[in-house]
Symmetry: D2
């Protein structure tokens, strides 16, 4: 079977590998259908890693995947051959302190698909045949494979929404309108936000933001004053979803927050200088949000019931053979939004 | 000018009263447009009060009203003659302990329209001309007067939603589908609830529930087993909005809750026997919800932006001259939902 | 080895049983030191069960125990022969929905020591030699065995405190001053409560309440007016720990709560009639609290650091041979508080 | 009467001013007893302001004061001549959006004693005779005047504790052990924190930290490794009270936090560079905390009941005539902790 494997920065290959063994107890064999390219995949592709996290050996990429059940191992219930399943890339141990406290996303022994963080690296899911634990699989029948592959990034924003608290009737700012930012707009819209403003530097990104429901889009390259207008009085926004990882975006967002507002930091940046006097004087709550846990099943349910429609965000779908082109395309914020690879 | 005044149980009169003086500092004169009949109005009409709260003198009813600004007093800004305004019936003192703590709905000196609780009673707002404080008024231009008159009961359920926490992707049960219950369905739908089940004993009520978005309606008179099915495992619902005030409804709802679920009690009943062992063993949170405060402006904003459409719940609109007929109609749960009186 | 086994109501026996096998992987053999008698043990002893939960076969009682490590199985780290350990009776599966969400106390497959709920019953820990999982054990060196055996009930109140939110400077009411109520007083005191009032019908219980820090004790049999005085204005208490399971205590407590107060229900009663109008109008939060999870280690730490001193609550310690006398004594609220059995 | 007035950086004068008029309706005349020097007073004294906030005209300093009631105006109840009262410097309008929402510390029209922020400046309370609103006064009979003057800074940390959530059994880090940091230690101790570590660069400050209950003190100038040790695993502390305003302190603290920990930012710094990747990946909650509101009365109550003893933190008390010496002393972190001025 074929895999999409990163060997070094800009050295992405379609490698061949033997088929996996038959599924063991509690396991499922999945014929992969669709995989989405995530920002972290792009970091490995373009830079060989990020921060202190560096590739040390070839690693199969990918953690936003779905496929069809081919075979089920002993003891598996509720999954049948032919089912479309979204596969959660999150594999916490279930035994450590953080798992026991209900924070499996902070598991001390996490084996998250396609991560170079421990060594040997945790291999990813971009492979034609995937052996997964049944507990990772959520049945997604009725969805397109493109939608099912969006369950993972949608879970990320659902987790952030849950940490942000209720949004009904709230004023929301989203800074950074890549796939995570635009999904945050969709989720905030579904949660009843009254007014959503989105900022970015790319017109392409802002067009997607408008398409999925932003009430106002602001290009910070040309129209930063439009955001400053929200600083009037003591500020405007109840909630900020910071999805860019850019210090300037965070600082501009903080200035537009009302006292007691909540800032959800999803964007992954390095050290960021922030106007702490405003955080203190306005008593803002700046909360990190990282991955997800039980929101994965919720994501599927929200798509199945039609409450959230992610299809407008899938800008391109390429074949497995064109994986390198897909990664190049996904790296271009002025052209693409979410890029999918078809394994079928 | 004419008022709708309750003199005793079943003794509702259209009385004449002198016009109010010109609006003073910070005040607004409003030509009333529409008033909604609330459950507490009906209690005064049908029973002369409820529990220990009894009529002791004639009282103008009504606290769900809107109208058009006729004249504004000195120092009033942001309100102009001709504006449609929804008028909040809540007049807290702003100085007592609970006001200072941000809970004006628990104000020790509250003067809520149409309440027999203190004596002399607090007169209500069903009068052709209403003198109100500017701070009670929210501009509702663009809405119909029927919608504007729904701001008050919608605020009640928004307050309950805020106390319930985020609903995105949650499973919600609503027991009792009168105006408050059906508005709770609308609000839960707007807040992204994934699955909403509604119960009542009246087919008429359940039809409205379905119309505003309940995924399933259950007539407890004929099909209680359909709710019991949700007791499977450790129970199903994340949130219950109890809007009936009936102990049986609360008990049946508690049995269908999942551990750590939240029960919002909006229905006003007397002493209620509840299965406390389940509350303890499932660690349910049973939270009272009473009136509202800053949600009043949010209600208007959510209707103006189209996020919540209350129009399907206005079942009848009668003229002021037909007020008694309107109260009779509103008392019949098998015919009516929200009954409005037109003062225009 | 000997066990304390309940055969039927009032039929408690000291039975003999074979020694357990050597500890397996991850297991620890413990020479039991001290066991505390809990209210549920007394229900089995006096009534053969409670509510729908009935004894169907003989069951070893006990779930408040500590002892010394005798032998450790393979793979056990951090526990050494001779260590004093408190043993958590809570054995959740770690895999079900509630375990994954961080609520192991609601585990669908819980095997809690000394519970007749599933059948076959889950045998308890009152046995001279106990084989436990290492993950159940918390090292309690430096504590007396009496203190270590209090870790379990102390965890129950720590869990309730955590659910109640911060108590610093708050006014607290405790209704029912058995071992759970008096431990709640100790915990509320440690958490900085400004004023603690305790009620009961037993003078003996109230004396213990005063001894561990209640600022005022009220005997509801003779002086209920002293509690009613707290109903003045809109009520007084920020938090109520209801530890009696008596509907009258809950109703009297609710009447003395201030708006937005929190009622923690720990006492296990059946159906309870409550003044729901007050719950709604004061927007009280009535929260069930059931068992505990990670608070077990916290309980040990708080005793080791001297922040909480449970010793005054251990009223009697009897030898294993006198188990029946110990159960009789523990059943008499006018004589005993916490009764311990020494297995040494 | 005499006042302590700042005319410019390093130009502090004891000025004479006419006596105030007799107390009006709802007012109280207070013979000042004791005033505490706060960090913001020192900023005006040493630098003429901070950040964009600059002195533009002479301003009476001081907002941590107490005194004895001399005369009461009409309509004042509960205050009698001779009473010792602590005077809250916080005078919110009670009408703006934030007052109505229960956040008077964010009042849009705040008149906080001794603030150069609006112009004309809000004059402070360091004056021999003070006319205050009765609603600002809390009776502090039974306390020393030194304790009563500590109500204000104690309120600041109680507010931060309330925002931090419950501390019972938690591991707490305090960075910066000036008056606010040491009071945070006292409050965290009163709230049941299990383990408190305090850091600073000054040995004098750390000695005070130890005296009021820090379990471990770390001098970051000489022993930073002792704090780094807490980074093991995923980090240690549940709560950080950052009271220094120094970016290095915040960064070092963040590194030692456990996932899902809470960082309370009390120290006022300018732009601060923070390791945002850790905030995100550990899902920390960084919350600003600013002033206080109803905690003022709680502070008095906690001192009166003996739960919190602030006396060890009052390092020096000088006479009004020695005000300049007092400000010099308070500016020297290696000598002083809280410096009081006696007006009696």
């Amino acid at each position: 079977m074929r895999t999409i494997t990163i060997h070094d920065a800009k050295d992405l290959r379609i490698d061949a590998q033997g088929e996996p063994a038959a599924p063991g107890d509690g396991q499922v064999e999945i014929t992969l259908a669709t995989g989405g390219i995530c920002g972290s995949d792009l970091h490995y592709y373009n830079h060989g890693g990020f921060g202190a996290i560096r590739l040390k050996e070839p690693m199969i990429l990918g953690h936003e995947v779905c496929g069809h059940v081919a075979r089920v191992g002993a003891g598996v219930t509720g999954l049948n051959p032919g089912d479309l399943v979204a596969v959660s890339p999150s594999r916490p141990c279930g035994q450590c302190r953080y798992c026991r406290e209900g924070h499996p996303n902070h598991c001390e022994n996490m084996r998250f698909y396609g991560s170079a963080m421990p060594f040997p690296h945790i291999q990813g899911a971009f492979r034609e045949v995937l052996l997964a634990d049944a507990s990772q699989c959520v049945v997604a029948n009725g969805l397109s494979t493109g939608e099912a592959a969006m369950a993972e990034p949608l879970s990320v924003v659902l987790h952030a929404c849950r940490r942000a608290g209720d949004l009904l009737g709230k004023k929301v700012l989203v800074t950074g309108c890549g796939p995570i930012g635009t999904l945050a707009i969709l989720a905030a819209r579904a949660a009843g936000a009254a007014h959503i403003v989105a900022t970015d530097l790319s017109e392409n990104a802002l067009q997607y933001a408008a398409k999925v429901g932003a009430d106002q889009t602001i290009n910070m390259a040309s129209d930063a004053a439009a955001l400053s207008a929200y600083e009037a009085g003591k500020g405007t926004f109840d909630v900020l979803f910071e999805c860019s990882g850019a210090p300037q975006a965070l600082a501009a967002g903080i200035a537009a927050m009302r006292p007691r507002g909540v800032v959800m930091q999803l964007g992954l940046g390095g050290d960021m200088s922030i106007p702490m006097m405003q955080v203190t004087a306005k008593e803002l709550d700046l909360r990190g949000s990282f991955r997800f846990h039980e929101e994965f099943a919720t994501a599927i349910a929200l798509m199945q019931s039609g409450r959230i429609d992610v299809k407008p965000l899938i800008s391109h779908t390429l074949q497995l053979a064109d994986a390198v082109a897909a990664f190049e395309l996904a790296s271009d914020r002025n052209q693409a939004m979410k890029v999918h690879i078809s394994f079928a």
